[in-house]
């Protein structure tokens, strides 16, 4: 087992990783920009190394400074968290070249799933159902029009180097295709340096359902059920729950088995999430994230596992702590992502937190790195905390969430707590009757 792990991230997830390490008796190294010198995980870690000025490109994305920080502290492994370098195949290669362990999958698998076209081909070959679409990239408008004839409208033009909701243009009918195609390509070139695009059928009212998988890198893998992350604003998730209100045990077992067998067959190591659009009882693969996800706590709650500790175990060459038969979900969990943003426009709202009080009690988990007097820096994303509740049923979880939200105090910066107070009063949320367009339609009505 590792003696010392470097946490190549910041904020709530850095604290999460630190906590997992501490419970395993592993020393932690926090790396931080000058703007994060007073961050909570920096205070708690055994050692810290300042790796650059505030801009992420010069600090949290600075491969030389992060590798160097391992060298001077003697850290043997790096946990990348999510975002930043967590899905950077070149970084993984460099980590390995320096005799360090990257806590995550191989650079080959990251590369495979990072390219949305090869990811889809790989998944299709492994028997995972996919959205009808072009077979690979579409290089010309003529090719796009030909494919569109087979795929059908409405469709989306997607950047292969995109992901996370970026680089997508909708074409409702044949008359929209040319413009969608041209603008998608030029935007992709500008944003990702790669203008390759592919086409996919656009689904009218799908839900976003993702399957958590975990592999040991030696051909064994399990699934840990689904998360429903349909409530999104501009492709950013704000509210997640496990299990999904619309997935029953038989469906879970069926799609879970397909996903687990797919990643087992490629000897996948560590945590991964296979994301689907789900409509009318059918699953359609959209992408695989080869890392820990923000919303992993809801899965941890219902399966009573520590996914970060499992990542560390597997990276150290140990077997997983569980088999598929051990993984029986219990109860219902919900997570709200709290952002430092001013409603109704969701304008980023950094600043100093005057008072912070976290809710507690049975079945309440608050994953946050903020504290009284903490200054939220303006250089990074606006997530300041995740409130997770777990209860025996969905109704009890909603009641618990309402109660926990009423206790939570974040004073001094604008934040999105009021959004969740309002959502909990909505009949569609209470009944679980929503799809990936629901939240934006609701926000448009409310403003």
């Amino acid at each position: 087992m590792f003696k010392k792990i470097l946490i190549a991230n910041r904020g709530e997830i850095a604290l999460r990783i630190h906590r997992a390490c501490k419970e395993m008796g592993i020393a932690t190294v926090a790396v931080h920009s000058t703007a994060d010198a007073h961050a909570m995980h920096v205070r708690m870690a055994d050692e810290s190394v300042c790796i650059g000025p505030p801009p992420a490109t010069q600090s949290y994305l600075s491969v030389p400074n992060i590798i160097s920080a391992c060298e001077i502290t003697g850290a043997e492994a790096i946990h990348p968290g999510y975002g930043f370098l967590s899905e950077n195949a070149a970084f993984v290669q460099i980590v390995e070249d320096h005799g360090l362990t990257f806590i995550g999958p191989t650079s080959e698998h990251i590369r495979l799933m990072g390219d949305k076209i090869t990811a889809k081909e790989t998944m299709r070959d492994l028997g995972v159902p996919c959205v009808p679409g072009s077979d690979g990239g579409v290089p010309t408008l003529a090719a796009a029009q030909r494919v569109a004839g087979e795929v059908g409208f409405p469709l989306i033009v997607k950047a292969t180097a995109g992901g996370g909701g970026r680089g997508m243009k909708l074409a409702r009918g044949p008359e929209d295709l040319a413009q969608a195609f041209q603008t998608a390509r030029s935007e992709a070139k500008a944003a990702f340096g790669n203008d390759e695009v592919y086409l996919e059928r656009y689904l009218g009212r799908p839900r976003h359902i993702e399957i958590q998988v975990f592999g040991d890198g030696k051909g064994h893998a399990v699934h840990l059920g689904e998360r429903d992350c349909s409530l999104q604003r501009r492709h950013q998730k704000v509210f997640e729950e496990a299990p999904s209100p619309v997935i029953d045990a038989a469906t879970r077992a069926r799609i879970g088995k397909i996903c687990a067998e797919a990643v087992a067959r490629i000897n996948y190591a560590g945590a991964g999430t296979i994301e689907f659009l789900y409509e009318d009882g059918e699953f359609f693969f959209i992408e695989m994230n080869t890392r820990l996800q923000v919303e992993h706590p809801v899965t941890e709650a219902i399966y009573d596992v520590d996914i970060v500790q499992e990542q560390i175990r597997v990276a150290a060459g140990l077997p997983m702590s569980f088999t598929q038969d051990d993984l029986v979900p219990a109860g219902h969990a919900i997570e709200c992502r709290i952002n430092a943003e001013r409603l109704p426009q969701f304008t980023p709202s950094p600043g100093r937190i005057r008072t912070y009080y976290a809710p507690g009690g049975l079945g309440v988990r608050m994953d946050s790195a903020i504290y009284d007097g903490y200054v939220i820096p303006p250089y990074y994303d606006s997530l300041i905390g995740k409130l997770i509740v777990h209860a025996r049923t969905r109704d009890l979880a909603l009641a618990r969430l309402r109660r926990a939200l009423s206790e939570l105090i974040i004073d001094g910066v604008d934040n999105t707590m009021p959004l969740f107070h309002a959502l909990l009063d909505e009949p569609d949320l209470q009944s679980g009757r929503y799809d990936i367009h629901w939240l934006e339609k609701w926000l448009a009505r409310e403003s």
Binding site: A30, M44, S68
Partner: protein
């Protein structure tokens, strides 16, 4: 029953004075915020015969994190009279790595205290990822102090030398 505010302030000042004496300090300044527009700033100072380091008092909240060994190695040299990161002539490290004061183990150091340097002149090297990176003087000046020990780890922003 809680004390009158003035009693608490007096206790606080006495505690600071005791801290000053017990730790052989010359000066402590603390600002405490009790609420909106309600704060207390206290500075206690004393004269002693020998020079002693002046340190900023730790904030009443959680203790600051331990930094990488760069801070520890600086402390093992004679204590500085001033916090080096606040000296206007400080040259901070532009990267993370291990600092070496000479090009090779047996060679003479790049600079010594008292040397005049030109802008761009190599003042030390920082090794990172098996490559040696020459660190240039950002401006012309005279080397007033060297703040890192040979072979010590440095983080981004760590004070390397002071240039007058």
């Amino acid at each position: 029953m809680s004390k009158r505010p003035q009693d608490s302030d007096v206790d606080f000042i006495q505690a600071l004075a005791e801290m000053l004496r017990a730790n052989d300090l010359t000066e402590i300044e603390v600002n405490r915020e009790y609420g909106d527009a309600d704060s207390l700033t206290v500075r206690v100072a004393r004269q002693i015969q020998h020079a002693a380091p002046v340190l900023a008092a730790p904030a009443p909240a959680a203790a600051p994190a331990a930094h990488a060994a760069a801070a520890a190695s600086a402390a093992s040299t004679p204590p500085p009279a001033l916090d080096p990161t606040e000296d206007p002539g400080v040259v901070p490290s532009p990267m993370v790595g291990t600092a070496y004061l000479q090009p090779e183990p047996e060679a003479p150091p790049f600079v010594k205290v008292g040397d005049a340097v030109t802008e761009g002149q190599t003042i030390l090297i920082i090794e990172a990822m098996k490559t040696m990176n020459q660190i240039p003087a950002p401006r012309a000046g005279r080397v007033k102090r060297i703040l890192v020990e040979d072979g010590s780890p440095v983080e981004f922003g760590a004070p390397l030398i002071i240039l007058e």
